[in-house]
């Protein structure tokens, strides 16, 4: 197996999606050849990486040929014409199955497409396949997957991060032009960091959750996972905007960030939360954040130190709110209308049908979180856990609001470490703590993006490190323009670290 370097352009190399799209539009290449190329890479690498659960090769090639025929006829092409996009398997598609990488939904076929998928298809994108994930999006490693663990294309002895594990690995491994993931507490940004790609968690309400299998309804967001910041802008433009089918979508027009993302922000103020630069982070992680700060200074930005004292209680807050919402959302899996149904022995009752179907259908991590949420919502404990966590949630949001009076964006690590090895965080609590820098974005409902910012060397292999930028709610324009400034500034230095093919 070759090194993934030639397949992992982490910056605006000619092969980000925007460049591919332009090449198709100008007739430099064809959508079919792009699609065929990515299918070939997938055929070669997916057995090892396990990014995809299902690949729709024929469908993708046919759709690509239609784009080529439109291009030859001189018809105007939509913004994502012919671009092969991978869909996380908790996002409903009428093509193939929507399994959430769970035995519970192993044969589930959605009768409808998620709004995000519908909008991507309307923009000309080709749904290329469904990607593996931590079951029901509960995990930070890609190990808790009914269809086997996903591997990191940079070092297959390590995890790709999670829960959007397959989406991150597919983009990093050159198996698709871009992907969508979902982010409840870091599930887009952390695997993006581990795999050396861009991962955007939009503001809560930016993108419709219609067709996203519910985990934590007040935290979940769909978002793009891409090779460049401008690709993330392009995908957000396509997927964002109010949706009558999701009453929690924000009543705002779709973004138009692809138009502005190349424009640097004059007088940008970058805040670095003092609590983010912990000694507990790997040294290369802090070094990458410091190098990013230096790059911003060189661009004329002001770096300010800000305080987010509740950073450390984010995990505790999250592991009350998310399991509580999950225990309620996952109550729908009862073995009656859809999903796994257990076989009963003569004389067994309805309770047994529910309980056995659920215990056979859900993996251990999902059951753990359902029990945690059920316990904290149960009589006598509700105020002590759930109500208290919701109060802390407001304090966390207030802290962000305060920080954003002193700066435009926050800069820090996406994760405390680069990709870890399989089984390294087999203790559930240790795994939860990996999300310390990402959960508060969801708790406050603001936006955040991870972009590649360097590498750590482990056992002779280069492992990507991401840095995270966060901006206040509905400030994606500012967030992505600031991210693009950094991406451009870092392209030369990080490119020099890329392993040779």
């Amino acid at each position: 197996m070759t090194s993934p370097a030639h397949n992992t352009p982490t910056h605006n190399t000619p092969s980000d999606m925007t460049a591919l799209r332009d090449a198709v539009a100008t007739g430099t290449t064809t959508a079919e050849s792009i699609c065929a190329g990515m299918l070939a890479v997938t055929a070669e690498r997916n057995t090892e990486i396990n990014a995809f659960h299902e690949v729709f090769a024929e469908h993708a090639l046919e759709a690509a040929r239609r784009v080529d025929s439109d291009a030859r006829a001189g018809r105007p092409l939509p913004p994502l014409a012919g671009m092969p996009i991978a869909i996380k398997d908790n996002v409903a598609t009428t093509l193939g199955r929507t399994t959430c990488s769970s035995r519970m939904l192993e044969n589930y076929r959605s009768p409808f497409d998620a709004t995000a998928v519908e909008r991507l298809a309307h923009a000309g994108a080709v749904v290329m396949g469904k990607t593996n994930m931590d079951e029901f999006a509960m995990g930070s490693s890609g190990e808790h997957c009914k269809w086997g663990p996903v591997r990191n294309p940079w070092d297959s002895s390590r995890v790709p991060g999670g829960s959007s594990a397959g989406s991150a690995a597919a983009v990093a491994g050159g198996m698709c032009a871009a992907a969508i993931g979902s982010d409840t507490g870091g599930s887009i940004r952390q695997p993006a960091s581990f795999c050396g790609i861009v991962g955007l968690k939009p503001t809560y309400g930016r993108i419709s959750r219609w067709g996203l299998v519910a985990f934590g309804s007040s935290l979940d967001q769909i978002g793009p996972m891409t090779r460049s910041v401008r690709d993330a802008a392009l995908m957000l433009d396509v997927m964002s905007g109010i949706d009558e089918r999701d009453s929690t979508t924000a009543d705002r027009p779709p973004t138009e960030l692809a138009k502005t993302v190349e424009r640097p922000i004059e007088g940008l103020r970058v805040g670095i939360p003092r609590q983010y630069m912990s000694d507990a982070n790997d040294s290369e992680v802090n070094a990458a954040v410091n190098a990013a700060a230096d790059a911003y200074r060189a661009l004329g930005a002001t770096i300010v130190s800000v305080e987010l004292p509740l950073t450390d209680v984010g995990i505790s807050t999250y592991y009350v709110i998310a399991p509580a919402e999950a225990s309620s959302n996952l109550a729908r899996y009862d073995g009656i209308r859809y999903g796994h149904r257990a076989q009963l022995q003569p004389g067994e009752d309805l309770f047994t049908l529910y309980a056995r179907s659920r215990s056979e259908g859900f993996g251990p991590e999902v059951q753990r979180r359902i029990m945690l949420g059920t316990y904290m919502l149960s009589s006598g404990y509700y105020d002590a856990y759930y109500k208290r966590a919701l109060q802390v949630r407001r304090r966390i949001k207030q802290e962000f609001d305060q920080a954003f009076t002193a700066c435009d964006v926050l800069l820090g690590p996406t994760a405390p470490t680069p990709a870890f090895g399989f089984g390294a965080n087999s203790d559930p609590l240790a795994m939860y703590l990996c999300d310390v820098y990402t959960v508060n974005t969801n708790i406050a409902g603001i936006c955040g993006v991870s972009i590649p910012a360097g590498f750590a060397e482990r056992n002779g292999k280069h492992l990507p490190i991401g840095v995270q930028l966060q901006a206040n709610a509905f400030e994606e324009d500012r967030l992505l323009r600031a991210a693009r400034m950094l991406e451009r500034a870092l392209a030369a230095t990080t490119g020099a670290h890329a392993p040779k093919a």
Binding site: D312, S316, V320, D334, R337, T352, R358, S359
Partner: protein, 107 residues
């Protein structure tokens, strides 16, 4: 005096785990209750750090944005067909979901 069972500092018991599993409609094998108890107790122990946050006068925040009910226009739209609804059912009889007999004799 026994510990107040609702106190967060009281250790999680295997009986509580079994009770929670029942509330959550999960069939946990007796041999695995202790494993779950240990893991859940570790998480609950960590979460106890929330008790140290000063929350005087802070209102709970259930949702990122103070949003209002948004009503759809009162126009009938087509819903899923019966075929679409039933295509994922574990068992079907005609146009209906089939379930095992759930009432015992004499119920």
């Amino acid at each position: 005096m026994p510990d107040n069972p609702h106190s967060k500092t009281a250790a999680l018991t295997t009986a509580q785990v079994a009770h929670v599993a029942k509330l959550a409609r999960l069939e946990v094998a007796p041999g695995r209750i202790e494993e779950y108890r240990t893991q859940l107790a570790a998480v609950l122990g960590h979460i106890a750090q929330l008790d140290a946050v000063d929350l005087a006068g802070v209102e709970p925040m259930a949702h990122p944005f103070e949003s209002h009910n948004r009503l759809a226009a009162d126009i009938p739209v087509e819903s899923l067909s019966i075929e679409a609804v039933l295509m994922n059912a574990p068992a079907v009889e005609g146009r209906f979901l089939a379930v095992p007999k759930v009432l015992a004799e004499g119920d």
